[in-house]
Symmetry: C2
């Protein structure tokens, strides 16, 4: 039987581990809460699954446990921070708090963060904005990694480059979290480890052919993940990826040109206040109208109704809060070593 855990107990556990590795207690709690938020939403490659890697980075110096980001630029509605490889999850949370303090006055706040550590699940941050009636855009790239080939090529040169957008409606918020590529590195690694294939031909091999086999990413020369749109419409996903690269490493002023080689992220966070535009009520009436129209749209016989982005995640979260969080089977064993090291008790599975 699959073990289930209480969400708050998992947060307490994760926070104790991060604190054990040197993070201040308040930051450790923020990071643990946002990872568990990803697990609650069902994004289980980007929740506590990442904690062993983060703990390892804290232990070996890849992630800096404490200190402040350096302010490279502060023009009120525009900021650039050098994160110095502090916890990326905490840096994005801190960027959002900074934006929330200013946005009622400035209308928008845009923050680029260079040399952040990895920022985990972008969707997990979005409710922080939508529950305040705000729209948020979060994009990230990892200048030290690649995996995605430009359209027309098979050479991996840039990352899946996720962009997440959250906005309120008159009901549940819309929580979009997409990558500019057909799939992600985390999914490729998980399938390769399990000896499985992708459900579609989302990769390109070193002969330029579409493939569903994660092994093409390790061939010589390497193949790659394709931009969203694949062999025929991939110029669109390529454009989207380039937009994310420009917003993150471009505006941050640090990235691939600098030979970044430490696991991390270039991040762009933008918060927009509908009240400074056409008004909050007009905004949520419009977004709510479209969400209702989409959920009521005609579907082919025997197909489920349309789900808005976030509907699945919010349903999974409600279920997990009431029935407990199911963790991917590899996660708790990987954390046990760290729990022993820091003398922290893992939470008991729910009865």
């Amino acid at each position: 039987m699959t073990a289930r855990y209480d969400a708050e107990a998992l947060i307490t556990f994760g926070a104790a581990l991060f604190a054990g590795a040197g993070m201040p207690a308040d930051r450790a709690e923020v990071a643990a809460r946002l990872l568990v938020e990803a697990d609650l939403m069902g994004h289980d490659t980007h929740g506590l699954n990442l904690a062993p890697g983060y703990l390892d980075a804290l232990a070996t110096g890849g992630m800096r446990p404490d200190g402040e980001p350096e302010v490279v630029s502060d023009r009120d509605a525009v900021l650039v921070w050098d994160g110095g490889y502090l916890s990326g999850v905490w840096l994005v949370w801190r960027a959002l708090q900074t934006a929330f303090e200013r946005v009622a006055r400035t209308g928008t706040v845009s923050i680029a963060i260079r040399r952040s550590h990895h920022i985990a699940c972008l969707a997990a941050f979005l409710p922080l904005a939508t529950e305040r009636g705000l729209m948020a855009i979060i994009a990230s790239s990892d200048p030290a990694r690649d995996g995605v080939a430009p359209f027309g090529s098979f050479e991996p040169l840039y990352t899946p480059d996720p962009i997440a957008v959250g906005y309120p409606t008159d009901g549940d918020p819309v929580l979009i979290d997409i990558s500019a590529s057909t799939t992600t590195l985390g999914m490729a690694e998980r399938l390769e480890a399990a000896g499985e294939r992708f459900p579609g031909k989302w990769l390109i091999d070193n002969q330029g052919r579409a493939s569903d086999d994660p092994a093409v990413l390790a061939s010589e020369p390497r193949g790659a993940i394709m931009p969203l749109g694949g062999l025929d419409r991939g110029h669109k996903g390529f454009g989207l990826g380039l937009m994310v690269e420009a917003l993150t490493s471009g505006l941050g002023g640090y990235g691939r040109k600098d030979g970044a080689d430490s696991w991390g992220a270039s991040v762009f966070v933008q918060v927009l206040d509908p009240a400074a535009f056409g008004g909050r009520e007009a905004f949520t009436a419009e977004t709510g109208w479209l969400a209702a129209a989409c959920r009521g749209a005609e579907v082919p016989p025997d197909r489920p109704p349309v789900r808005m982005p976030g509907d699945g995640a919010l349903a999974r979260k409600r279920a997990a809060l009431s029935e407990g969080v199911v963790l991917y089977p590899t996660i708790m064993p990987a954390l046990t070593t760290w729990a022993e090291k820091f003398d922290v008790n893992p939470p008991p599975p729910l009865a």
Copy 2:
């Protein structure tokens, strides 16, 4: 033999037609120049091809020839205009000029325009920003039209929702102009008129099957254009389209909920100054590094090198400026009636 025209002569011609239809001379020239810019770039469904429709709209009241947009909100770095169906091409040009005046001080400027008329080719506006060293994002939706179905449905509910992003590099700018759908309404209309099919299965029929036949858009019930990503990855294009709907009709505070029924657009324009972020030199060094890496990426045997978004358009523009502009065959005949009506001489084809 295909007729070629001098670009400046086409601009003079288009400006005379728009002025004949009541637009002030300076606005008429701005609108004509940006349409011809689209033709120069080779985006020939969104250049002078649109002029007959615009002239008809000016004649029948669908487009207002003169007057000012109403300022709904002005918070310095955030503005909302009610365009009152003034020329959308002129409104976007005007929004960009307003942003250029402010952005050195504010870092970013974001402008939502409700009730704009149609804005033509988004890519054509981008060089106005990139030649100033600025990054621009332009997105648009038409709340009076549809054509694209939400992921999981075949019911057309929203528009292809283009988003264009231009940014400078240390060489040619990158000019991205993509829709959130697999293809566009203009392309579907052109293929349907020519009795042709799409080169890929980019549509969905009313049984939920992928199709390359534009006739499925006119079946009963209607089929639709699919979101970018198609049957398997279309949740990503759906998310991108929803982002554009929220930025345009959401922030503008006017859209589908209001039963908009006049050909037009909800528009979002954002200009970002790299100088206010990590610096212009760091920005263009980063974007230039990635552009060079992409252009030099490995390609399969006998395949052309990778093109960056905008490379093709800029090459076509350079050729058309030197050799003359080729217009799609239906365009000049459609303008002749208007030329006679306003007693304007069409430009002679180049010898």
